[in-house]
């Protein structure tokens, strides 16, 4: 992993002239108290711009999931702030937060987590239905994204009738189709074999390049790390390295 740091061609601060999607300020997340206190994340300051393809790496227990959950509004920080599209998400609750996640964040989970009773197409449509997008527009976007993720012809299959890789493609399509500000993926390839994982990641990278979609994902897999354009390294809840590649 250190060789990646050495391959570092461009320091983070050099990047200019881009719009900020995420900004975290002194973000901390502690679990437990006293003897059992765990500093899952400590004073994380981070800025992610539109169109970036960022991976978060680090040993197990270093706080990767915690960071992604805080950014995604699934968890509340102990202290510090998360700004997504310049909005303080840590202060939102209930319906407001639900709607914000619906409109601004796309999630891809390690375990795919598709809705089992809905077909591939319906899973992809789900968020657009919540958003009240017209049937015509939905149909247009669904067929476009099915093409992009290479699942044409599998529209009506239920998740149980799809392979893991196919399910994760549906999950990518579901996360992207509502055109969120950012897509967060916690170890999206961990349940896939490495070939399928790399294929999925290449597909995500293509979508990132073609559609300027912002991705942040975490991984353990060195082959996956290589494909990132920016690597943020966590250790014991602290950001210890942050480098960009062109």
């Amino acid at each position: 992993m250190n060789n990646i740091a050495q391959n570092n061609t461009q320091k983070r601060d050099v990047l200019v002239n881009s719009t900020t999607v995420i900004e975290t300020k002194m973000l901390c997340r502690h679990f437990g108290q006293g003897d059992t206190l765990v500093n899952a994340l400590t004073d994380a300051n981070l800025t992610i711009n539109k169109g970036e393809f960022t991976t978060i790496i680090g040993p197990s227990g270093s706080g990767k999931s915690t960071l992604l959950q805080l950014i995604g509004g699934l968890d509340t920080p102990t202290s510090g702030e998360v700004l997504l599209d310049n909005k303080h998400i840590s202060q939102m609750t209930g319906t407001e937060l639900s709607d914000f996640r619906r409109d601004h964040i796309g999630f891809i989970f390690q375990a795919y987590n598709l809705i089992p009773v809905l077909s591939a197409k319906e899973n992809i449509e789900y968020i657009m239905l919540l958003q009240g997008i017209s049937a015509q527009e939905r149909a247009k976007r669904v067929s476009a994204i099915m093409h992009d993720v290479g699942l044409e012809g599998l529209e009506n299959r239920r998740p149980a009738q799809l392979s893991g890789g196919q399910q994760q493609r549906v999950a990518v399509a579901r996360a992207m189709v509502s055109e969120p500000s950012i897509i967060l993926a916690d170890e999206p390839t961990a349940n896939l074999d490495s070939k399928t994982g790399i294929e999925l990641l290449d597909m995500m990278k293509t979508l990132n390049e073609e559609q300027k979609m912002t991705f942040v994902f975490s991984t353990h897999d060195p082959k996956i790390m290589e494909r990132a354009k920016r690597i943020i390294r966590l250790e014991d809840g602290c950001i210890v390295d942050d480098e960009c590649f062109s």
Binding site: L74, D75, T95, R102, G106, I115, V117, L118, L129, R174
Partner: protein, 412 residues
């Protein structure tokens, strides 16, 4: 729409469990419906038999007559009131009665007796008196060749006075003009048995009674009571209210059988409460079963709710989803229960269950338990099943709505 689609698919997803829920809720409906049908049917039957025996569904008296009966508290303008009552399409029959407590004398013995003057034709159309004649014949207003009016006497009175059909009966009472009324009558028939309402009664035709008590006849006829039978016993209270307004005669009181026979009515109401307890138990058992399946169904899907929430489903939508799933199941269960119940209720209403031992209530014999088919019998179980299901779903629904997406996602 989206939520409805999800709800339907979720119900179809675990078919066995949905079927079990459906069976238990449908079974609950069936039991409730049957219990209600039997209790309503039995009460209707009792009320019908009771009211048709002599009370009728509604009675008209001079105000206060029921509290303190008196010879002088009469209903005047009898003909016009009869016509007015009869004009009502709900009325099956209306009959006037005159009451005169008397001393009855026959074959060396004297007994007090309630003498009732009846319009023989109308009485036969309104109550079952005619069918209760056990010996001889139902009276008419004819006068025998000896010049006597006919009388019909109760079974016990006949025994006490040692009278049979064809014998002479002497009645002594007070006329409305204060004179002593006494007359000889011909025993034409003996009515009822040792237990029935009529056992110590004497029935005379209206003209005979009027002459006996020196009351007005023909156009000037008066009566103490008008008994009315209606198409259905449930019409009694509303009908009594409307008629009271319609009559516009302040000295008359129109009362439904519930008031006239208030002690009978009250004991029946008390009895009804007993059946509420058994219905409550059915509801409780069904609800526990439903709560169990719904809770299991939602616990299993905790992770899924986490996903739905994480990707932007509002808490309220998740709440609605759970409630809707239960509601759909409840409605289908009701339809299923209805399908099961209707034929049985219909059979109960038409054939009924013969009682091993007939019950005798004040001389009125019940030998069949009858069911009833009515809106009440169907709607109450539906409302109860749907309401208890919704109530029971509240807990899992709130749980699902308030679930933290993160915790739910980490659930296995």
């Amino acid at each position: 729409m989206l939520i409805a689609k999800l709800a339907f698919r979720n119900i179809l997803r675990n078919r066995r469990r949905s079927l079990l829920t459906l069976l238990s809720m449908g079974g609950g409906f069936f039991l409730l419906c049957l219990t209600l049908s039997m209790s309503e049917g039995s009460y209707s039957n009792i009320i019908n038999i009771f009211t048709q025996d002599h009370t009728g569904h509604v009675q008209i008296h001079h105000t206060n007559y029921l509290e303190r009966p008196s010879l002088y508290k009469t209903i005047n303008n009898l003909d016009s009131i009869l016509a007015e009552v009869e004009a009502n399409p709900q009325v099956i029959g209306v009959t006037p009665r005159i009451y005169g407590p008397s001393l009855a004398y026959g074959k060396n013995k004297t007994f007090p007796a309630q003498v009732i003057g009846i319009d023989t034709k109308r009485e036969a159309l309104t109550t079952r008196l005619k069918s209760k004649v056990k010996q001889g014949q139902y009276i008419s207003s004819d006068i025998s060749k000896e010049g006597y009016f006919e009388a019909m006497i109760g079974y016990s009175l006949a025994n006490n006075l040692a009278l049979t059909v064809g014998d002479e009966l002497v009645l002594i009472s007070q006329g409305i003009d204060g004179s002593i009324a006494n007359d000889i009558f011909l025993v034409k028939g003996i009515v009822g048995d040792a237990n029935s309402y009529e056992k110590m009664n004497v029935y005379l035709s209206l003209p005979a009674m009027q002459q006996f008590l020196s009351m007005g006849q023909g156009e000037n006829s008066q009566a103490h009571e008008l008994a009315i039978t209606l198409a259905h016993q449930q019409l009694a209270q509303p009908f009594a209210q409307t008629l009271q307004k319609q009559l516009e005669v302040s000295e008359l009181t129109v009362a439904p059988w519930q008031v006239v026979e208030s002690s009978f009515y009250n004991s029946m109401q008390a009895d009804k409460k007993g059946s509420y307890v058994s219905m409550g138990i059915i509801i409780f058992i069904v609800s526990i079963g439903v709560l169990n399946t719904i809770l299991m169904g939602t616990l299993e899907r905790t992770r899924e709710f986490g996903v739905l929430k994480a990707i932007g489903t509002r808490p309220l939508s998740l709440f609605n989803l759970i409630i809707l799933e239960s509601l759909i199941l409840a409605v289908i269960s009701c339809l299923f229960g209805l399908l099961l119940s209707l034929p049985v209720c219909y059979w109960l209403a038409t054939s009924g269950i013969p009682m091993p031992e007939p019950i005798d209530m004040g001389g009125i014999v019940f030998d069949t338990m009858l069911g009833e088919v009515s809106w009440y019998v169907v709607i109450v179980p539906s409302v109860v099943v749907i309401a208890s299901t919704l109530l029971v779903s509240f807990i899992p629904a709130i749980r699902a709505a308030q679930i933290s997406p993160l915790k739910a996602l980490q659930a296995t």
